[in-house]
């Protein structure tokens, strides 16, 4: 079948792009996660200057388009980074942009997860004599993070799709490759459809995996509402 032949022809190039797509996704998600956890705790459980800083950061990132953020990093940052000897490559811009963006959204999702923990439990752990730090580690993190899993896995899937914006800053992920292939071979519809199905496939895969993870780690009695 012609389509199949075409697919086999472009598969290697698509494969390279896919690798970067997945790389941007997972690095963005994981680094974003480790940034988000402490920032979220600061935002929820402290009341000073840093709480406001985190709020400002989250509001700014969530209130502006990712595209604009990537654009600013790739085309704007060199203006002050180049004099410092730092080159802004597409990779640099892509990773930085996706990490900062994902972290902000993860902070917001985790807030929801932590807020689901009744305040009385914090009081209970303090009544037992646990220090604030111990309360965070033993009571808040295990529950808050688990409650956040559905929202965070949603974020992962969103991120996978949004890495396609790397196209705008010439990061060599799937979409960039697709556009080149399409114009090189002058087969637009086929290329984009194939790419669409690749994204759909991975989206589906990720959502199934996260369902499994969520079930395994769920706290008994706290199943999320399933929409039929």
């Amino acid at each position: 079948m012609e389509l199949l032949d075409y697919f086999i022809t472009i598969a290697p190039v698509l494969g390279k792009g896919l690798v970067f797509t997945l790389l941007f996704t997972f690095v963005g998600m994981i680094v974003g996660f480790f940034m988000a956890v402490p920032l979220c705790l600061i935002n929820l459980y402290t009341h000073g200057f840093w709480k406001k800083v985190v709020t400002g950061y989250v509001e700014l990132i969530r209130g502006t388009p990712l595209l604009v953020q990537l654009y600013i990093i790739y085309y704007g940052f060199p203006k002050f980074l180049l004099p410092l000897g730092i080159t802004v490559t597409p990779y640099f811009a892509a990773f930085l942009g996706f990490i900062l963006n994902s972290a902000a959204y993860q902070i917001e999702y985790m807030k929801g997860g932590f807020k689901a923990i009744s305040y009385e439990q914090i009081e209970a752990s303090q009544s037992l004599g646990m220090s604030r730090w111990e309360t965070v580690i033993t009571i808040l993190l295990p529950q808050g993070l688990r409650f956040s899993i559905p929202a965070l896995s949603n974020e992962l899937i969103y991120l996978l799709k949004y890495t396609s914006l790397g196209f705008v800053i010439q990061a060599p992920e799937l979409m960039t490759q697709a556009k080149e292939l399409a114009s090189t071979h002058a087969r637009y519809m086929e290329t984009y459809l194939i790419v669409a199905f690749i994204y759909v496939f991975f989206t589906f895969l990720l959502s199934k995996i996260s369902d499994m993870v969520d079930e395994k780690l769920r706290i008994p009695g706290f199943a999320p509402e399933k929409i039929r």
Partner: protein
């Protein structure tokens, strides 16, 4: 300070904004005494308990546990809290931990016991409240009465000098209050020093040594439960008791 006085509360004031919830509360609790605090909702009874173990620090006033001043800034509050057991209205069990874990966690994390010692003690405490068979269950799998008994076991396991109960049965269905009240009665008979905020007049009558009636942030009247119930000196007390016994029975 009297060696037998476990808890001393002096002139405690607590304000939330312009709302003066506690307006100069003072009382003492001796070892082995069971004090029951009654009063209309929202008069600061829960706040008072939270002022004692500093979950809500008071604006003014001082609190002593034995001869250690809790309100002193230099006191290690986490240490003192180990000696004060607190039981919550909505149980406040840690949802991600089994009943056994809930009771153990204070022992090995705060009291720094070894895991085996902690486990042994936790099992013993759960047995004391009659829940040894349910120890591997999560809070969501337990009824309200069972959850509250785990909450009591968790507080007891720390071997506190005094136990504070914040409306322990108010969130329970009527059939379940009995099992919790029985545990509390046994505790009282065993000589535990207890301060209980509750509407359960029957409990006050059977094991209470003293009853305190609070309203509008003040102590209106205090004394022997039977005396107050039968012939309270203040009009307000009588009014309140009348309402309560209508609702909850004697």
């Amino acid at each position: 300070m009297d060696k037998d006085t476990v808890l001393t509360v002096k002139d405690v004031v607590k304000e939330f904004g312009t709302n003066r919830v506690l307006d100069g509360i003072s009382f003492e609790v001796k070892r082995g005494e069971v004090v029951v605090i009654i009063g209309p909702s929202g008069t600061g009874k829960s706040t008072l308990l939270r002022c004692i173990n500093q979950l809500t620090p008071p604006n003014e006033g001082r609190v002593w546990l034995g001869d250690r001043e809790i309100t002193d800034k230099n006191t290690n509050i986490n240490q003192i809290r180990q000696d004060i057991g607190f039981v919550f209205q909505h149980f406040a069990l840690f949802n991600h931990l089994t009943a056994l874990d809930n009771v153990e966690v204070g022992l090995y994390k705060v009291k720094k016991m070894s895991r085996e010692d902690a486990r042994k003690k936790a099992i013993a405490e759960l047995e004391r409240v009659g829940l040894k068979d349910h120890m591997e269950k999560f809070p969501a799998e337990l009824s309200g009465g069972q959850q509250q008994r785990v909450g009591i076991a968790r507080a007891l396991a720390m071997d506190p000098q005094i136990m504070l109960f914040d409306e322990p049965t108010s969130a329970l269905d009527p059939e379940l209050t009995g099992e919790v009240l029985n545990v509390m009665k046994d505790l009282a008979k065993a000589g535990m020093t207890m301060v209980v905020v509750s509407h359960e007049i029957g409990f006050a009558r059977s094991v209470g040594h003293r009853m305190i009636f609070m309203e509008d942030g003040h102590i209106v009247e205090e004394g022997d439960p039977e005396m107050i119930l039968r012939s309270a000196k203040k009009e307000r007390t009588r009014e309140f008791l009348h309402k309560i016994t209508e609702l909850y029975g004697g």
